[in-house]
């Protein structure tokens, strides 16, 4: 990702899950501390892999992407500035971008149109022993439920399935200007519903 995006995302990190110890660890990773890297992995590996699986679905591909994310973390941790954000947000932002890029890359070889179950949305009910539903889960679900159908579809297809807004427009049979507006309305409503202060 470009430096501007990295910086921006640092600035965007929410305060609610600030974890000073993780921030300290990530700073150490930036100085080449492999033990700190292992600790970061142990704390955030399941969040990164969980997000990658949500977006990518294919477990093996998600594992590859999670690996890429952590290698990028190792390479770029010196750019992390704890004054501007928290480690978890930094990693999740990297992970989402990577996952979306992977889905789009793979799209060339598959017909995505036929792969999706339109009724399901995000897999909130997925149950496996290795899966943990986070404390934020209920709130996010409630806030998504508070969107209009078109807002929710637009956010779901983009964020959880890696569609570009132009692809969302095609999929929902709407024009791109409408979709961009719905995404904006949707994210503003989510932000306010979740009480994000940034």
């Amino acid at each position: 990702m470009s430096a501007s995006a990295a910086q921006l995302k640092l600035a965007a990190a929410p305060e609610h899950d600030a974890e000073p110890s993780l921030n300290d660890l990530l700073v150490k990773v930036g100085r080449g501390d492999e033990t700190a890297f292992a600790a970061i992995y142990d704390h955030l590996g399941s969040s990164v892999f969980g997000l990658a699986r949500r977006v990518i679905r294919d477990p093996a591909r998600a594992e590859e992407v999670a690996q890429e994310v952590f290698i990028q973390v190792w390479q770029s941790a010196a750019r992390f500035d704890p004054a501007k954000g928290n480690a978890k947000s930094w990693l999740l932002t990297l992970a989402h971008r990577r996952a979306v890029d992977a889905v789009r890359h793979d799209q060339a070889a598959t017909n995505r149109e036929n792969k999706y179950d339109w009724s399901s949305g995000p897999d909130f009910d997925e149950v496996e022993e290795t899966v943990t539903i986070t404390l934020e889960h209920e709130q996010v679900k409630r806030c998504l439920d508070g969107l209009t159908e078109l807002q929710r579809e637009a956010v779901n297809l983009a964020y959880y399935q890696g569609y570009t807004y132009a692809e969302v427009a095609t999929a929902l049979n709407a024009n791109t200007a409408t979709i961009k507006t719905r995404m904006r309305d949707g994210i503003v409503r989510l932000r306010d519903c979740m009480g994000v202060v940034a």
Binding site: A3, S4, L51, A77
Partner: protein
């Protein structure tokens, strides 16, 4: 900001732009403080969407990563470029500088050293396009072991050059990178400063011999105070 770009705020936060629009939008964000302020809330919201389900990765992934990272180089603060600077030190003293037109520098992590009004910014953008689109444009670049690169595009027909720095490691707290135009007749002339990423246009390059980049205290120096980390022939 333009209406068109503003409409990309939410798609950007959701990673719903294609690569090309993403790059163009990020270039716009760099210049738009209001956009960045609003984007912070959008990005934070997106992170919340992404943090709802955790899934334990296969144990083999941990082992693979820990085995691999020892061999993977990291982006580092500028200190690691010192060895490189040393090699270049002998080159600098005999270099001096022609008059040049200071236009300023835009940085992503760092910012404008010279304040520019919109008209100047527009002129600069037009001039950059002229250089980058010139028939006789030539390219020279330098990459650093610690990550990042500096690329110079010279167009003799426009008597101008564009320098683009990408992902350079932090120059250190209170430090900036400063770009100099250098010829054999006069003192080096500052072309502006940046941190990490930047792009700037330089005019009057016909007289110039080299472009040099040094690490200087924040705000820049009148003349180089350190040996250059990069010298690129014009």
């Amino acid at each position: 900001m333009s209406t068109d770009l503003h409409s990309l705020m939410a798609p950007y936060a959701l990673d719903a732009l294609d690569q090309d629009e993403r790059s163009r939008f990020e270039a716009h964000l760099d210049q738009c403080a209001d956009c960045r302020a609003e984007m912070a809330g959008f990005m934070a919201t997106a992170v919340r969407l992404g943090d709802t389900v955790r899934h334990a990765p296969p144990p083999a992934l941990r082992e693979r990563l820990l085995a691999e990272i020892g061999d993977i180089p990291q982006e580092r603060p500028i200190v690691t470029a010192l060895a490189e600077r040393r090699g270049l030190r002998r080159t600098l003293p005999r270099l001096a500088m022609a008059a040049a037109f200071l236009v300023g520098a835009v940085g992503v992590g760092g910012y404008l050293v010279e304040h520019q009004n919109a008209e100047e910014a527009n002129d600069r953008s037009v001039a950059m396009s002229t250089v980058l689109g010139a028939d006789d444009v030539t390219t020279a670049s330098k990459s650093f072991d610690a990550g990042g690169s500096v690329k110079l595009y010279s167009a003799p027909s426009a008597d101008a050059a564009v320098i683009i720095a990408k992902r350079l490691p932090s120059p250190g707290k209170g430090k900036v990178y400063q770009v100099w135009m250098v010829d054999t007749e006069a003192k080096p002339t500052s072309q502006g400063t940046f941190v990490s990423d930047g792009e700037m246009i330089m005019k009057g390059v016909a007289e110039a011999d080299h472009i040099a980049v040094t690490v200087e205290p924040e705000g820049g120096s009148d003349q180089p105070t350190a040996a250059p980390i990069a010298i690129i022939a014009v």
